[in-house]
């Protein structure tokens, strides 16, 4: 019985330890700001040299997903929650990928209808 209570105690202390400190908050802010600056650099400096380039959009999307990871993981603290809670939020989000695939496919069909 005593071993169980110590276990719980250690668990609680562990969770407390993983909390956001001021230093870490500003570090995440710096990362978010840096990613946004990279996006602006691509949009204002690099993209004008390659009008109509298809490879720029995936870069934006990857950078956006990085920002989403830092906001959800650190600011919203999901990275430090119990794995069960994190999964119950993240797994349903994956279903959105299905809608993206379906509607991307559909929009290719629509543009085919419009052009021919």
């Amino acid at each position: 019985m005593s071993s169980e209570t110590t276990n719980v105690h250690v668990d609680a202390e562990h969770g407390e330890h993983q909390s956001m400190t001021k230093g870490r908050i500003w570090k995440v802010f710096a990362i978010l700001l840096a990613i946004t600056c990279v996006e602006f650099f691509i949009a204002l400096v690099i993209a004008p040299h390659y009008p109509g380039a298809q490879w720029i959009n995936p870069i934006y999307i990857v950078l956006t997903l990085f920002k989403a990871f830092y906001i959800v993981g650190y600011f919203m603290h999901l990275k430090f929650e119990k794995i069960g809670l994190a999964l119950s939020i993240i797994v349903p989000i994956l279903f959105i990928i299905g809608l993206i695939l379906v509607l991307t496919n559909e929009s290719h069909y629509w543009i085919g209808l419009r052009l021919h």
Binding site: M1, E4, N7, V8, D11, G15, S19, M20, T21, K22, I25, W26, F29, L32, L33, T36, E39, F40, I42, A43, L44, P48, P51, N57, Y60, I61, L63, T64, K67, A68, I71, V72, Y74, F75, M76, H77, E81, K82, G84, L85, S88, I89, P92, I93, I96, L99, I100, L103, T104, E106, S107, H108, W110, I111, R114, L115
Partner: protein, 243 residues
């Protein structure tokens, strides 16, 4: 024999799902906030994905760097993305002040929580002001739900080398206007409610509600909502202004 069975039954399991404790180790209101945000994420996803489907099925689309090139009140043309850059910075900054408020709440530092919350509210109001300026600017050009600028103005929003026919320009501009005002409007409504909720919680901090309660968990919960609003803006920014 019988003692062996009894020992087996008496063995206490301590895994998270064996009962007697909260498996997620999270307070009820906080987990419900997470699930609300999950449902809200689905709403915003369906809006943004239908925007994507309509945009990629259109043969031409108004170029973001040509539509959004003014800094309302200062620069009329030739400053693409500068204003939205400011808006993005304000929102990220207010997210930082919110997480600092949560951090101060862990230390039960009432004054600090209140100051960071006030900072977050100011950030939210500044963002709403910027969005109002942006909407006013687009409206003055002729964009609104169901309205598009005249053919003469419309020409400026499409890359000249594409030689888009006028009918196509009008059709996709109409779709752009409807989707832009609906999606940024829905996001702006979230910012607005976020500011209201933040004000309510700040009043609670100031009159000592959470000090009496012994925890600033409420600040954490509204913090989740506020970060979510910032998260949605990250996606709106990418898909309306960059792509």
């Amino acid at each position: 024999m019988s003692t062996a069975v009894a020992q087996h039954i008496d063995e206490i399991k301590t895994t998270p799902w064996s009962g007697g404790r909260s498996p997620f180790d999270v307070e009820y209101g906080k987990i419900m906030m997470w699930f609300f945000l999950l449902s809200d994420a689905f709403t915003f996803s369906s809006l943004l994905i239908s925007y994507g489907a309509i945009r990629f099925s259109a043969p031409a689309w108004p170029a973001p760097s040509l539509v959004f090139q003014s800094f309302p009140g200062l620069i009329e043309h030739g400053a693409p993305l500068i204003f939205v850059g400011l808006m993005t910075f304000i929102l990220i900054m207010s997210s930082v002040t919110m997480v600092l408020a949560v951090e101060a709440g862990h230390r039960n530092a009432k004054k600090e929580v209140a100051w960071w919350m006030v900072g977050t509210i100011i950030g939210g109001l500044m963002f709403l002001g910027c969005q109002a300026a942006e909407w006013t600017h687009l409206h003055s050009e002729g964009f609104w739900w169901g309205h598009i600028p005249t053919a003469e103005t419309l020409k400026e929003f499409f890359r000249p080398e594409m030689h888009t026919p006028l009918s196509q320009q009008q059709m996709s501009s109409q779709q752009f206007a409807n989707l832009f005002f609906t999606i940024t409007g829905f996001h702006g409504f979230h910012v607005f409610t976020g500011v209201i909720i933040n004000i309510i919680i700040t009043v609670g901090v100031l009159i000592g509600t959470f000090e009496k309660r012994g925890s600033y968990l409420m600040v954490e919960k509204v913090g989740l909502y506020w970060h979510f609003v910032d998260l949605v803006w990250v996606f709106v920014f990418t898909f309306f202004y960059l792509v």
